[in-house]
Each structure stands twice: as C-alpha cells, then as structure tokens.
Symmetry: C3
Subunit: 277 residues, 3 copies
C-alpha cells in the first residue's frame, strides 16, 4: 500500500526525505511534489526554531529542480498550526524579538513568493500565523469539520496583524471581509471560511490528501515558467512592500510587543490557555 505521505493516484517513486525536528518533508521525485508535514506537538506553534526549519525546508525545495510543488499539512490531530509561538514574544529581550520577527518575515517572503505550487491541506484549526501560512499558499483545502476554525484573530489577543498579514488577507477575501474579520479577530468555522473565500474548498477529512494531490496535479499541468511569472505579477507588489520596509516593520513589532500593556495582555492570554487544559 502507498505510504501515507504518498499522494494517492501518483505513481510510487523514490522519496527523498529531509528529516527535521519540527517539520517532516518528503519529496516524490517522479511527481515533483513534496509533502511537508508540521509535527511540533502539541499545536505546531511557529516558534523561532520551527520558523527557521520551515524557511530552510522551503529554500531546499525551491532550489531542488526535481521539486515543482509542495503540499503543506499537519501531522498532528485537530490543529494545522496555532500560529506564532506566544512564548517567543513574552518576557524576552529586544534582540530576541528582533530575531523572531525577522524569522516570521523570512518564512512569509519564501512562502508567499515561492515559485513552487503551494497547496495548504488544512486538516485542523488554524488561527493567526497558522492562517497566514494557509493564506500564503496558492490554494487552500480545509477539512469540512465545523469544529475547525481559521482566521487572523490577533485583535482578540490585543495585538495587531502587521500590514503584510493584512494585505495577504485582502488579496484573498477582499477589503470588506478583511476589515470586519480583522477588527473582530474572527475565527471562522470551516463552512463560514468557505463562504467568505478564506479557503477554496472543503472536503471530508479522510479525502483531504487525495484532493490536495488532485489539485496539485491540475496546477502542475501548466507550464512552470508562465505560471511562475503570472504568480509573481499578482504578488510582487505586496512582497516588495515588505522587502522595502523590512527593518521598519521589525522596529514597529519590537517596540509594540515590548510595551508593558501588551506584555500583560499576552501573559493573561497564556494564563487563560493554561487553565483551559
């Protein structure tokens, strides 16, 4: 039987595995499709270590001519990614915040600007930074479980999504939906996410990988060069804006997150999360 990492319907082929701590990557060299599975228990938080691995994995695949597309999913049940790791933003030094934020930017620049076809197979909840990962892909399929939700809910934590989170979001759902959803810090259950255009389709969880492979095959049927130039045309303005204001964006983040009022909000939020367990 095919391995669970092997997209069904694709021929069995030698798979190269880039083994990491936080992310499992297997490249099927005959199909040109890599499977990237987040496996950082308990909730795939985007810690500095996770983000660094993520960026390195994307870079490796990007530079591997055998790889044309990547399916991103979670190896954990119920959660795709819980977003930025709050412990990285709480009670640390300015230097740490700087390093962390640069890693967040780096991940997004690589993923949103990837030349590969990127398909998010969202097999669990995906708040905040987890939602950004999905929004940055070319296509989003979500498990049709109404208990799974997705959204840029930063406002709920008393913090503000940076402009490039916002612009990535607006490019997917339009200005009005983004304005309302960001202000309310909404987490949208899967059916609502579909209705808003935040995800492209819902499928039963057990069909998620099959569907992701089929979508990938559809996108890979196009000549890479034309598809890549088209993608660049659509995304360049937003990518360039961050590149041009990268240091300023880091400064803004570090000064905002260092505020005592924000630190207090984050501590309260972490307390609440602990009590929930």
């Amino acid at each position: 039987p095919p391995s669970p990492l092997q997209p069904p319907g694709l021929p069995l082929a030698p798979c190269r595995s880039f083994s990491n701590n936080k992310i499992q990557v297997e490249l099927n060299e005959s199909s040109g499709v890599a499977m990237m599975k987040f496996k950082s228990p308990p909730v795939n938080s985007l810690s500095l270590e996770f983000l660094t691995e993520f960026s390195i994995s994307l870079e490796k695949l990007e530079n591997n001519r055998a790889c044309r597309g990547v399916i991103i999913t979670s190896a954990l049940p119920k959660v795709f990614s819980s977003g930025l790791d709050i412990t990285e933003m709480c009670g640390k030094s300015m230097e740490h915040y700087t390093e962390f934020w640069r890693a967040v930017q780096e991940m997004w620049l690589r993923l949103y600007g990837s030349n590969m076809v990127t398909v998010a197979a969202v097999n669990g909840s995906s708040p905040a930074g987890g939602c950004l990962v999905a929004l940055s892909c070319d296509y989003r399929i979500m498990a049709e479980n109404p208990k799974f939700s997705i959204g840029l809910n930063e406002a709920q934590l008393g913090i503000v999504a940076p402009f490039w989170f916002k612009e990535t979001f607006v490019n997917v759902v339009g200005h009005r939906v983004a304005e309302r959803s960001l202000q309310l810090g909404s987490l949208h259950p899967a059916p609502e996410a579909l209705k808003l255009g935040l995800v492209d389709e819902l499928v039963p969880e057990e069909k998620l990988m099959e569907k992701a492979a089929a979508v990938m095959a559809q996108w890979l049927a196009l000549p890479d060069h034309a598809r890549q130039l088209t993608k660049t045309m659509m995304r360049k303005a937003v990518l360039d804006r961050l590149v041009a204001h990268r240091e300023e964006d880091i400064k803004n983040f570090v000064s905002f997150i260092s505020k005592e009022s924000i630190q207090k909000s984050l501590r309260m939020y972490m307390e609440m999360l602990k009590k929930r367990k």
Copy 2:
C-alpha cells in the same frame, strides 16, 4: 420599561443627552454606547447646519472616554437620510459652496476615521450622502423592507460622486459592483443591497435596534486599542488621500457645481421632487 433610546438588553443606566436641533444624542455611560438619531424633518437632508451638528456630536463622543461606540439611526419614518441638501448646492455663492463642501469632508473624515465602533441602523431609504454615512460605519444593518433603498445615485442627478465617496464604496462592495452601481446611479432595494454587500444584514424593522445593540456588544468585546489600530490600518490610505487633496477637492466641487449646466440639472431635479409631493 427601557426608553426607546436604550438599546434593549443593556442595563438601565444614567444617560447623558447632548440635545441638538437636528440630531438627538444619548450616551449610555454604563454600556459606553451612544445612540445618535437624525431628526431633521422631512428627510434628514445633510444641510450645512446638520453636517456641523453631526461633526460636533461625533467630536464630543470621540473625546468622551466613557463612549466606545455609536449607533446611528433616524428618528423619522421611512428615511435614514436623503443625502446632501440640494438647496445648499443651488443658487448660492462660491463661498457658500466652499463652506458646505468643507463640512461634508469634515463629517466623513470624522466618521470614517472614528476610533469608536460605528453601527448604522438603516431604518429607511438612504440615497447619495445618506448612503455615504452608512458606508462609513463599521457595520450596516438595514430594515428588511424592499421599499427602502440605498445607493450612491449621484449620476441620476447629473453629478459625480467625489473620489473619496467612490473609494469608501469600493472598500465595501469591490471595484466591479461600485463601477456599475455608480455609473447607473443605482438605488438598491434592501434585499439587493444585502446581496451586493452594501449592507451586512437585514432584520425586520422592529428588531433593528435590538440587533444593532447586539452587534455593538460583539464589537465592543474586543480590546479597543487593537481594534482601533486595525481599523486605522484598513482605512488610513483613503483618509490620507482626502487630507492630502482637501483644498483641491473643494476647488473641484465648487467649480463643478457652479457650472450653469449643473445648476440647471439640480433645479430640474428639485422641481421634480416638489411635483412628486
């Protein structure tokens, strides 16, 4: 029984009333929600006096730390606001047009840029400037009466909505719907307005205030600071554009409205309105 100005479901509390000629304002200091009711018969035209009161009321609430949100509605039956008062734009001096247009800009800058949560409870028809008021709020609830319509119908009068009306509209309904609706000067019946996204929901007229209070409570559940920064991020580009071109925009308006052909159109339109009665 709660006063009709008291949003149902909120506890009874001392209300401070800012009494004015054209607009009734009551602030419930315990909920932090102000109720602003247009009461300028027959149709809540946005006259110079009305606009001035409107801006002053918004400023007072904005500066009152007890106020976090405002619900805007009409005290008159069947009409929310008929829009800019045509008599202010017809047969007057250049100085008058200048003063009037500055007041229109002022109102919009305050409302669209407000730090408060703004909910429009559209309990009647809302053409042109009346529609702009609704579009400038954070959320729009409309009475589900198909006889009530809403839209930027300036083109029907032979005049053109200024660029910031257009950009406010595009931010709500998107480019295509705005392009078509503005060129046709469409007034959309409530059900169509919902379909186009011009309003967020329809409720039976008798439930309008209850729903507005519930929506307000939902928005106020978020931390003010994060919500306000997010709102600014979404709206700043359009607000800045008017601030940067304010005098030029006034000149354009005054020179356009002073044209004999435009004056003639407006006189004919007023004649038609008189005959209708």
Copy 3:
C-alpha cells in the same frame, strides 16, 4: 420586420453602416446605439488588420455625436473572438511584433477608456484577447450555453498576460479569482463565468440581442456627462498606467515573444490547433 442588426424594441431608424473587411458596424442614429459585429472567419482572431479596423471603428463612433453606445458581438457562430492572432506573434520580425503589440494596446486604450456605453453580447467562446475585449466593456451578457467558455488562458500557451490585462481582470472579478484563474489559464464555461462575476448575466442565445438592447437603454437613461466622468474615475488609474509605460510594455512583449522557447511553444500550440481540425 426589423433587420437583425436592429436591436429589438428600438424604433426603426435610418442606419449608417461603416462597412469594413473584418467588422460590420451599423449605427442607429435615432437610438444612438451602434451594433458592431465581428465577422472575420473562421474565429475572429485579433490580427493586426482586425485590431486596426477595430480601433478605427471605435474612433469613428467615439467622434460621432449621434453615437452614445455600442453593442459588440460576433457575426460568426460559436465564437465571440478567439483572441490575439498567434500567427502575428510567430516567426515574424521584431518590427512586426512591435507594430502588432502597439495595435493591441491601442484597441484596449480606446475600448476600456471609451466614453460610450459598451455592452458585450458574448455569443460564443472568448478566450484570451477575446475575453479582454469583453472585460473592457461596461457590461457583459453571455449566451447561456455551457459549451461556450471565456477566460484569460494565456498561461496554457506558455505565455503571460500583460499587467493591463491582469488589472482589467482584477477590476472585474477581484484579486483572488484573477490570481487563480490566470495561473491556471482557466477557460470558464458560461455558468461558471457568471458565478465568478466574469460576465454579468446569462441569457438564452436567441434572446441575447434583445437583452443587450434593453441593458443599453438602461445605461443610456443616465445623463452622458455624469456617467462618463464616473467611468473615467473608475478606470483612469489602470489606463494611465499603460499610457505611462507603453514603450516599456512593447519592449517587454517583443523581447518575451522573440525568445526561442516561447516561439517553440507557440508553434506547438498552432500544430495542435491544426490537428484538432
């Protein structure tokens, strides 16, 4: 009985016909509506000659004060327009590519920026440049035949739609739909095109001209001046962008299309088309 070129429901009137090789134009001077029918067998390819005639016809109508609107349709069965003529882009000189691309730009600048009301009656398939023609009109009605499809499918041919095709598309369907559709080079069957907002409505093929005339009458009910200024306000940014970068856009096209890899793709595509017949 009314001539087939006479929009039903409009009074019979003297029609002035501008006879051309590739496009039939008849202006009904009493209604102010011109009917423009593409009749360049087999598939209304946008050749240099066709584009030149198209621009000249638009210019003539634009300068004719008796003409206020134009309905654009095809005189051929099953196809509205197959888009840019590939033979003009294959195996020709740099000078030819330059002249050809300038003609494509010229057509679009005239059509997208037209002061007339422009209604596309899409009575057949409309890929690539054919889709651009429809997108550049004020309103799009399509025959509700699921065999007819429409879209900017350039990526399928290994080429990339220029930025102003993209921006015209985004202005109609929004960023997300455009991003996906352009990367996949999708040709959307009529029902899907309606759902995506790529066309405004579907009608049975035999009702297409009747509906186009009714829509035209609705748009012409507005005062020309206000409607034209509004249209300019909505479209000027995109038009200006091409005007400002016209020579650069030509250079990009010529250098891209001259590449041996692109020439090879186009030759293969033409071979495939020949075999299909």
